[in-house]
Symmetry: D2
Subunit: 363 residues, 4 copies
């Protein structure tokens, strides 16, 4: 109700502020008897971790996750799993000057309007640091999916545009996404983006990014129409990530100008005797339920709102002023958004799998 | 859990199939002492009602809503409000031939995969006929907002593109949206669209549409971060509408290529002494909480999947075949989507208002 | 949130007032492919139906239930099932004099305090007439349990005390409960109760009742600790029935004076090689999870608050007055409570079965 | 869904095992701007803390609570409040012999049946140690009630019976409950109970207890009929406490034998011009909504199931055996149940207050 939780049967609740003593989450509804340790979670956190290239914030956080409950003898017990990451590099002094000013493009103004109080240190609760716990929950969700489905669902996100520079889809190679600091499948765009981001920094500017996520191996049947359609829940999951301003599935906005006869995905029988869709304009969801095709979405991240050039704003007392943000910030938050997008896909699928099992599958 | 409900404190649950005896919904959490009668709901249903122009389905439904509970002496009592619309024009014979075939682009295949059974008459539960109840619930949500806020929140949706033909935003005039069958604010596009849709029908084709919705007068402070952010819940509300494939807020996908210093909405103090944003690229939401500016979203509807030309599909027995849909269908479902988009905005705002009041406002 | 729903995965939402046009409910989360018709529900409603003996209200309601959605070709489809019963015998004039007075022991005062408005006709939303929909939902829950567990769970409630007159447990014979108007397993108490209730009516008084419910065949493992323990959810289910003031499980309140070594249910291995509890003081639940033993609860119903003798009360304007209730009322509401207790047991078990399957069972 | 949470708008989620590294909870929906520190919580924990008299377990736990989030500059921010207590005295060796045996009367058997795995150290997740977090959440709930209602609601629980020895209600003096190790208002029973419990220990036995809780100052109007009635939610709250087997409100089970005319609480106008109930047999709730009178409930705790005398049980491999529990245990768990009962009353009232405000109160 207060908005700190995601999911229904598989459900996690996060807590913590950017510059508090720790952040954490409680993960519930995890089936028992799944092998789980910090080693299953840490690699995903490491992908999202700040300070790994000059294109992301230089805040140094080990982001070392600890499991405090819900695992016994190396296996999940069905009890809630409490995860915690201690905050180590919290230079609160960096943020002292934003105490009395609203950073434009940030949640400072709205948190004050809503709550009448705001933990201004690093954005407090509204900081993207919170997404670390999404990634941790996503790692557990992946384990659940593998355990339950007895096969691995591949969930991969790729950055396909930074600022005005889009990749060439012909160069798409999933193997490349971990070979560059941008999670991009087009190795030929890397140099362009590096130059663009260096220039962006010189300009005291920041850049947006477009992320595409593909989930392959998702069984048909997931989704709870009419109001918890799989694509509706995925849209919520993605739009709720910090800095996201748009979400589309399959053809997405391009379907508006596509004639109906081209848009529908015709069906044949494949060589394996199974239904074979001749295209995937739907993006893997029809009527809110997964078709068994790849689920394909694109997620638009706005440019970082923290800028090292002056922007007009007001003080908390209603005086006009300017603000220059000098802290350590990603010039393009969308890059580190890719692991978060993957995580939100994973948690949504894990929850919908359990929901589907509950109502529709028989033992 | 099973997906038939929307909202938390203000919450409605719909039921019914396209060709069953009736459709309905139960609306809960409505504050008491609000004047309410069928006359408050019917006008919104009439806007969505089929058969009003040659550009929408010719199915004739009076869509006369009845209030069965929760209202006494003309006022809401706080008890659940049961609404019902009887289905009158249910020519089941029209649909007999889709019993054994999956219509591509529809939910036929996925409902069978999920449930192992499907009410094939007119799409059954997956029919867009269900959206009538969203519109009815939306009408009640508007009454709640007016009652609680003691002012009217204006919620208006406009069709701004059909197929490849976008409006000229310079012609935008809200007063026009009820003067044409397309809910468009650009009267100059009307002739173009009429010609385009006539041709679309001749081509046995169908067309997508882009709808923009604007909510003005929304108080700052609505939204429940981190997971029930206002924009996240709105994204879910919109993506869950039948045939929607994309959702964006404010600049939306265009923010990717916009430099950060241009994207952030700078703040000044207006003549009224109140904070004044110099732009609204955020679309009225920062950090998942409303800013007090207009909430502006765009929603992409795919072209109607029911097509009067043959499309490849399979039978329920797994045989390859073709299907031609000959029933009465909107060539462009997005047009009648506009009142549904308005309704989903209204229900989301009403719920978030009550949620905000519950946690953050003091009497 | 507004309190009209029960359950989580299996969930139903009721609506309607005692003297409105109809009452109804929407049942969600029902697995598909279960055969279901009105004939599966009506017999349970008939047991609860008023006017069947001189010991219950003489209001004549056919209580004929209609299924409006969610069933196709005689089978559940997984879509919400809408049930409706039209109110036929609504003599509103009977109730005109309670418009301005609060009936003591009833919800008149509290509804006014909460909502500021009250449908005074027959108690409106607070009427025990609402329990008809619980019984209907319970009938569907029984079908789910049988379908899912591939065996019948026996759920039977018995009236074991009326006023000061308790049954002799040595006479317990389940076969008797449908042979008398009291749902009692002790045929020898029937004459006593008939005399007592006749005298109660002559005294212009009313009587309480104690109901015991036993669910046999419940699999071990149901219940979601720590907060949705099976016994906690059952306690809520029972205490939420109109006129209930106490709930206990197993030994219940008697466990307070029982030494620990006698209270614990020792365990052996039975002839079938399965764990065998040597007693059932726990009432079939340990740590909030079913043991596989019978679930045994007792539920206390207060005497009917509507009395044909004057009681002191106040008017809605705060004037002191008296009230005599002359309408048609059960002198002992607990009798007709027995089918409702059974229903609430059934819906709780069905929900917890699906919850257990979702998290803990693998396909 | 997995049962680790309580409440809706005010909601807390607990985690942790008896012998894990820590226990904790996340408290959500707390209104902002309430002063809060560990000092507001610790006194309540100290009341529940083990090892304070020879009549409770000798496990030594400081139970020092830490606030990890959600409070800034000494005030709540509206963000989730994470609480943690580190486990310090976890002698796991005490429990090594129960690894392979099911303790009768405990959750060992049912956890294994449900999850197929069980953290056997001190009962793991099923340990009553979990109730510390209920008490912590209850302390925050009290702060909310005071802040919101601008007056203190008095919530006090008293032990009124231990084993067969009930207090004399004529001796009731609330001031006494913190003057003895039993939370009893009857100082004359103390010697009796001390002797009885000493003998109970000598007998290698254990004792049950009856707790009465009274909430005074609760405003009329709280409760969400029909399914989240205030008394129904309280029954769930109480029955969900470890070792509770029965719950009643007002007259409770005694209402069965009480004639209706005596049971109804007649109403007059008091000297203050407000409605005055002439009795409180209802226990402060009518139709599921608070009347404004004291809410009075009684809660039955079974005797401690851990016994230092042999009891028959089986091994996890299905062999018959005996078990003697030699760890540190309360001979009467109900005593330390009193602060937990208070806490569950507080959290239920805080949640229902916010729910009531959300739907029914206007600013």
């Amino acid at each position: 109700m207060a908005g700190n939780s995601f999911g229904t049967i598989f459900r996690f609740t996060t807590w913590g502020e950017s510059h508090g003593s720790a952040i954490g989450c409680v993960v519930e509804g995890v089936p028992p008897l799944i092998t789980l340790s910090e080693n299953d979670i840490q690699p995903f956190l490491d992908k999202r971790r700040p300070g790994q290239s000059r294109h992301t914030t230089q805040r140094k956080e080990a982001d070392a996750v600890k499991i405090l409950s819900g695992v016994f003898d190396g296996k999940t017990t069905g009890a809630p799993i409490s995860l915690m990451i201690e905050n180590t590099d919290t230079r609160s002094k960096d943020y002292s000057d934003i105490k009395d000013k609203y950073r434009p493009g940030h949640a400072d103004f709205t948190y004050d309007k809503k709550y009448g109080i705001r933990d201004y240190r690093g954005g407090g609760r509204s900081s993207a640091r919170e997404t670390a716990m999404r990634v941790a929950a996503g790692a557990i969700a992946r384990k659940i999916l593998t355990h339950e489905l007895k096969q691995t669902i591949s969930i991969r996100a790729a950055v396909i545009q930074i600022g005005p520079h889009a990749i060439n889809r012909k160069n798409w190679n999933w193997d490349e996404i971990h070979n560059n600091p941008f999670f991009t499948p087009d190795k030929e765009i890397v140099a362009t983006w590096e130059g663009f981001l260096d220039q962006t920094r010189k300009n005291a500017s920041s850049a947006g990014a477009l992320v595409e996520v593909v989930a392959a191996g998702v069984p048909a049947g997931l989704g709870a129409p009419s109001y918890d359609k799989l694509d509706a829940d995925l849209a919520k999951a993605m739009m709720g990530i910090h800095a996201v301003k748009g979400v589309e599935i399959g053809l997405g906005f391009d379907c508006v100008a596509t004639p109906g006869e081209k848009n529908v995905d015709e069906i044949r029988i494949g060589k394996d005797g199974q239904p074979l869709f001749l295209s995937n304009h739907a993006g893997g969801v029809l009527g809110g339920i997964s078709t068994g095709q790849d689920i394909v979405m694109r997620v638009a991240f706005k440019p970082t709102s923290s800028l090292p050039q002056p922007r007009k704003t007001i003080t908390t007392d209603g005086e006009e002023t300017e603000i220059v943000t000098t802290g350590r910030h990603d010039p393009c938050v969308g890059i580190r958004g890719a692991p978060v997008v993957e995580a939100m896909m994973a948690v949504t699928l894990a929850d919908h799998w359990l929901r589907h099992k509950a109502q529709c599958l028989t033992l």
